[in-house]
Symmetry: D3
Subunit: 61 residues, 6 copies
Amino acid sequence: MPTIIVEGPEISVDKKRELARKLTDIAVEIYGIKHIVVLIKENDPANVAVDGELIADKKKM
Amino acid sequence: MPTIIVEGPEISVDKKRELARKLTDIAVEIYGIKHIVVLIKENDPANVAVDGELIADKKKM
Amino acid sequence: MPTIIVEGPEISVDKKRELARKLTDIAVEIYGIKHIVVLIKENDPANVAVDGELIADKKKM
Amino acid sequence: MPTIIVEGPEISVDKKRELARKLTDIAVEIYGIKHIVVLIKENDPANVAVDGELIADKKKM
Amino acid sequence: MPTIIVEGPEISVDKKRELARKLTDIAVEIYGIKHIVVLIKENDPANVAVDGELIADKKKM
Amino acid sequence: MPTIIVEGPEISVDKKRELARKLTDIAVEIYGIKHIVVLIKENDPANVAVDGELIADKKKM
């Protein structure tokens, strides 16, 4: 049973619903397996850094 | 040092204590290594989807 | 930068290419962020269990 | 659907089978959910370090 | 693009900033790739166990 | 016990040794906890995509 873990920022429940459905459709198509689990992880901008700088700090600029 | 990550719904501290102890006992037995780390991850029903549908939506039905 | 980790069985490079492109397109659309990382993890059927039974054993039946 | 990811060293298929079954039984009991996925990740001793030293180097001593 | 995921206890934003910058510097040096993502995961002491005992319980002693 | 998971390309054992030691030193300094686990995950260029394109395909250009 393929599992898709998405690490991103906070999003609305409507976006989560759409994200989960669309990612699942693609996984079903590619793997040919219909049972798919999607885990959406929401990260605070202070907990993610790109190129050594926290997203929370980039936003202040 | 084996590490066990459990992705599940919210549970009580009593259940976490029991889960950690029992998972550790099994890992010690199978791996023959006594130092085990357990990370319990609690996921909101709006952040998990099975077969393309959020758990939060399934519960409404 | 959202990161998508996919835990599934082995697939061909053509399927990986298609999977990565399609998952990225959806993440860009939902998050409104264009830089997306996709990590495809391929798991041996002896290393995955559903409902307590290894996929490798289910296939033998 | 709870998912259990186990990061450990290489083990035999017999041990994987036993590990998956026992971890699943505990998760079913604690969560009261019968569908459980177990992912067993096998790590080379050169890819794991405890207290700053690779397991591969500890073994040489 | 290497990704570093850190599972630890809660820390201040100042410590997160320092952690992200220093981990990134090392990854850039070792991999020779300048784009690095760092994800800092903060875990409640009731959600982490070492040797079968929750960190939350160890602290009470 | 903080755990650091590094998802990157293949590297030599010498680089793994250096990476593990340096990441551990930083984690000890930031968290004030001396027991640290580092897991180094090596990914094939066909299993990682940035901006929707496999690293394996980018290299061909």
